[in-house]
């Protein structure tokens, strides 16, 4: 099942997601990137209905870029979160998107922040969060081991512990995960945790 989780550390935020594209019992691919880089300092980890996920996250990404082109300055993380929430809320009573979102970003002056946006547009600023079946394991791990202002090594260690927990305890555990990080140097891919190597070389 789809798992997206993340946490905020000292001067950075991490979002990790599984990378399986699944249709009922069939695994289409195991290297699907579900954490989108919105712009230089923002990450959007999304889980939910595959069509809605790709469609909605691309829509948000393009609108974030549009704002930057029009106004010359990038959107803050809080503004992006509120915009995303507004789009989900407007669509809610017409044709709702079934996408759960973890938005992480770094702003100068404010530092790292993470927003939890439900598929029914419930928005909340959080330090640690998770979606999907993996949340039952990740949230408990993070409640136990998380503390504010973790260093990168500690945070990656906690993420790895969560991944190990999901692999051990979830019956249809996704084999591979991607970890992305955003800090003052920008948003980038940090690592892949693969237990099944995909045959094709290119990562779509």
């Amino acid at each position: 099942m789809e798992c997206v989780f993340g946490l905020v550390g000292k001067g950075f935020a991490i979002v990790a997601a599984d990378t399986s594209a699944v249709n009922s019992i069939l695994v289409h691919k195991s290297n699907e990137d579900k954490v989108m880089v919105l712009d230089s300092h923002k990450l959007l980890g999304a889980s939910g209905e595959p069509g809605d996920r790709v469609q909605f996250t691309e829509y948000i990404q393009k609108n974030v870029h549009l704002y930057q082109f029009r106004n010359g300055i990038p959107l803050t993380t809080a503004a992006t979160a509120n915009f995303t929430r507004g789009e989900l809320a407007t669509a809610l009573r017409k044709n709702p998107y079934s996408v759960n979102i973890l938005l992480a970003g770094y702003d100068k002056g404010v530092g790292p922040s993470m927003y939890y946006i439900d598929y029914i547009a419930t928005m909340h600023k959080i330090e640690k969060g998770a979606f999907g079946y993996g949340s039952y394991f990740c949230l408990s791990m993070m409640d136990r081991l998380y503390h504010p202002d973790m260093s990168i090594e500690e945070a990656i260690d906690l993420i790895d512990k969560c991944i190990i927990e999901i692999r051990t305890r979830l019956v249809v555990a996704p084999p591979n995960f991607v970890i992305k990080i955003v800090d003052q140097d920008g948003a980038r891919e940090y690592a892949w945790r693969e237990s099944i190597k995909s045959p094709d070389v290119s990562m779509a």
Partner: protein
């Protein structure tokens, strides 16, 4: 199958068959009768005759018998293809649609009969004292049985002497708050003053009733200081039915416990310190009995002091963190 809440008014009984009248607002714009029970198909003819339903025009008569359910077009009206069941279920599910959405994260709990008001969990209470009021809420944000955050804000400030708490579905509470702040800011620009609590309550009621057939699933609790520093509290349901009270108002999943606690602990004309103590104890003891609310409390006390402008005290309570 999802449990949907269908409001049916039972209008009569023919033997072992119940005839119920489904209000128009739930399905499309046509009235129809739902007949269910044994011998339902035989009774549908009787139902269809004008004298049994006061001569009203019927478009469709849905017959749900023990064996099958089918739709009877009535002869004296034009034939129209009506996909009654599918349409009504789609409309009904638009009322309680978050449960009907097949979100992959939530489908495990689609079998649980959970009201949309209990999706996030909340507890709100407001009390009146002597020239002061207090409004308190819990701090849990949950998704059914899972707790997502323990610092969620439910009480919002409209202006210095007016606060609104919104219980129920968190997304609708956030949307309602944004709409209300927008309306109040417009009011401030036009009238060059703050809104009175009574006016604001009417505004909230009107906004909620605008969405009568597709409501916001939130129940507001409004507390403010009116003219002459007279405290004002009121609550309303999700459709805007106002309930003014002189002592306390409650809302949320823990409302039944809150009614009991407030009723026993409340005294009229309490001083601010005593009011604070009372409302805190009432809130904490009530949310302890409700699994969907809790994780501490947030109390806001506003009192009109004699010489200084209104003073506001905000406190976070630490209760049972579970």
């Amino acid at each position: 199958m999802y449990k949907l809440i269908i409001k049916i008014n039972v209008v009569g009984k023919l033997g072992r068959v119940w005839i119920a009248y489904m209000p128009t607002q739930l399905v499309w714009d046509k009235r129809f009768f739902v007949v269910f029970g044994q011998n339902a198909s035989r009774c549908s003819k009787q139902v269809a005759s004008p004298k049994s339903h006061g001569g009203e025009k019927l478009i469709r008569c849905l017959v749900i018998g023990s064996a099958c359910s089918h739709s009877h077009p009535l002869p004296y009206l034009e034939k129209k293809k009506v996909y009654f069941l599918a349409r009504s279920i789609s409309l009904l599910s638009s009322l309680s649609f978050p449960l009907a959405l097949s979100s992959p994260t939530n489908h495990l709990y689609s079998l649980a009969a959970m009201s949309i008001f209990e999706y996030n969990g909340s507890a709100l209470v407001a009390m009146v004292g002597k020239n002061c009021f207090a409004i308190a809420s819990d701090r849990r944000l949950g998704v059914q049985l899972q707790t997502v955050a323990t610092d969620f804000q439910r009480v919002f400030k409209i202006h210095d002497r007016l606060y609104i708490g919104l219980s129920g579905l968190a997304t609708d509470a956030q949307t309602m708050y944004q709409k209300l702040v927008f309306r109040h800011k417009l009011y401030q620009l036009r009238e060059e003053r703050d809104m009175k609590p009574q006016t604001f309550a009417s505004l909230v009621s009107a906004l909620l009733y605008e969405k009568r057939f597709g409501p916001f699933f939130c129940q507001p609790v409004i507390a403010g200081l009116g003219d002459n520093d007279e405290p004002f509290i009121c609550t309303m349901d999700c459709l805007g039915a106002k309930e003014l009270a002189k002592d306390f108002v409650v809302s949320g999943t823990a409302s039944e416990s809150l009614y009991g606690a407030c009723e026993s602990m409340y005294k009229p004309d309490m001083e601010p310190e005593e009011l604070f103590e009372t409302i805190s104890q009432a809130l904490l003891s009530s949310v302890d009995r409700d699994c969907l609310s809790g994780w501490g409390g947030y109390v806001l006390l506003v009192y009109a002091a004699l010489l200084t402008p209104t003073e506001v005290q905000e406190k976070i309570l630490k209760g049972r963190m579970d």
